[in-house]
């Protein structure tokens, strides 16, 4: 097989990989914020639900979660296609790690900021959204960036439930053409480029956001 053909097949796979990232990432962020905030502020029963979710998804392995959702849910009468299973499993998995990012970033805002906002009589929701969250967001960017890279890497697992992503195409090509060195070399490079693109984007975002914090420092 021509090298050009190999690359074009792999590109098709890369598109699928990017699609999965594009769908799972918003889900992960949504889970991270909602359960991160529940974990911090909600009444105890809700907190416990959040803890179960977080511990379960962090304590078991992403591939098992994916298999469970894809192979076991049909036994409960819930049949979902591979793509949905992939997005749900990866979104929930990365989201569970994200809750800790949200929680940690909020808790790392200096205590004095809470105290000043109480002294100025802000309500608790104003305190969170106007004072604490804008500062916490800046702290969240780098760890969320790392999680986004983890997500890109984790998408390779979906090849094991027959989704035609980058890894799947690579394995398929490797099995048929035997040009394994080139194929896996190119695939690794593809993933690397995607990760570097994310790194670049995250740095830009971080610089942009921290400008609003008066030259990046957090302590005033």
């Amino acid at each position: 097989m021509e090298f050009g053909e190999i690359v074009s097949v792999l590109l098709q796979g890369a598109v699928v990989t990017i699609q999965i990232v594009a769908m799972a990432l918003p889900l992960a962020v949504l889970m991270a914020f909602s359960f991160g905030l529940i974990r911090l502020y909600a009444p105890t029963p809700f907190k416990q639900i959040a803890i179960v979710y977080i511990e379960f998804f962090r304590g078991t392995s992403a591939l098992i979660q994916l298999y469970w959702i894809y192979f076991v849910l049909p036994f409960f009468g819930i049949t979902i296609d591979a793509m949905t299973a992939a997005v749900v499993a990866l979104g929930l998995n990365i989201g569970a790690y994200g809750t800790e990012v949200v929680r940690g970033a909020i808790q790392s805002v200096p205590k004095g900021q809470y105290e000043a906002s109480i002294a100025l009589n802000f309500t608790s929701s104003q305190r969170l959204w106007r004072i604490i969250m804008p500062q916490a967001l800046v702290n969240m960017i780098p760890p969320f960036g790392n999680l986004a890279i983890e997500l890109v890497k984790a998408t390779s697992l979906v090849s094991l439930i027959t989704i035609g992503d980058l890894t799947f195409k690579a394995k398929m090509l490797a099995d048929t053409t035997l040009q394994v060195g080139e194929i896996f070399g190119v695939v690794l490079l593809f993933y690397f480029v995607m990760a570097q693109f994310l790194v670049f984007f995250i740095r830009r975002l971080e610089t942009h956001l921290s400008k609003g914090l008066g030259r990046g420092g957090l302590h005033s």
Partner: protein, 257 residues
């Protein structure tokens, strides 16, 4: 004389096993300026933080402007205050912090206008006009659009004062407002307070280590040690003829420096 604006009755406060106040009583009259001095860990800052509702109490009552701070009437009984009550009570109080605690993601102007606009519903135009006035008062009219991190410590603290004043509190709490500053920046901040009390009358409660300032500005000085007022009186009396041994020892240590 009318009823005191602040009154602590048999207040108890612990941090875990550590007892800060076991049976604390204290009064401040309206428009009185009271300085609290004493060794660290004596409960001085806790007193202010309890008033600002940053710390709860474990017993007793506190009245502020004729109402109970940490309790409210409910079905004929006194019950622990809910958020709504605390929200109402906080309108009487303003606080300036040792470490400034300015909001780093807001300009100086927004630091000052945010609370009046969001909490009191003052219009932007009105809030900004008042902010300008306050910035002039603290000598930082040209810094309205700077961010806190671009200011010196002394400038930050002057913004901190303006921010507290923007809410027009009737009681101002100053918690070691110069302790985090380099010595050469202390006076620019204290001058703001000096001017402030010249122009308007405030009830002011300050915890400070600046003895000369306490002596100059206060109507009354309280010497605190181990969660109790050991000695209190007019500044001249406390500083020139302290009666208690502990006060003498403390003041000597300061003068000795």
């Amino acid at each position: 004389m009318s009823a005191p604006i602040i009154e602590f009755k048999n207040v108890k406060k612990c941090f875990g096993e550590t007892v800060i106040f076991s049976d604390f009583n204290f009064k401040v009259e309206e428009n009185e300026i009271v300085s609290i001095i004493g060794p660290s860990g004596s409960g001085k800052s806790t007193l202010l933080r309890i008033l600002m509702t940053l710390e709860g109490i474990d017993g007793g009552y506190i009245n502020v402007a004729g109402e109970s701070l940490w309790h409210m009437p409910w079905q004929g009984q006194h019950v622990p205050a809910n958020n709504k009550h605390l929200h109402k009570m906080r309108n009487h109080l303003g606080m300036v912090f040792q470490h400034f605690n300015l909001f780093p993601h807001m300009t100086v102007k927004r630091n000052i206008t945010e609370a009046p606009m969001r909490v009191k519903g003052v219009s932007r135009a009105e809030a900004e006009e008042f902010a300008e006035k306050l910035l002039q008062l603290v000598g930082l009219a040209d810094k309205a659009d700077s961010y806190p991190n671009d200011l010196s410590g002394g400038q930050k603290q002057r913004v901190g004062i303006a921010r507290a004043l923007a809410m027009k509190p009737s009681i101002l709490l100053l918690d070691e407002i110069t302790s985090a500053l380099d010595p050469e920046l202390v006076d620019e901040v204290l001058d703001v307070i000096r001017n402030l009390v010249k122009e308007e009358s405030f009830t002011m409660l300050l915890v400070t280590h600046e003895m000369y300032f306490a002596r100059e500005i206060s109507d009354r000085v309280c010497f605190f040690d181990k969660g109790a007022i050991v000695e209190e009186g007019e500044p001249e009396a406390i500083f020139t003829q302290p009666k208690e041994e502990r006060t003498k020892a403390f003041l000597n240590a300061y003068i000795g420096q």
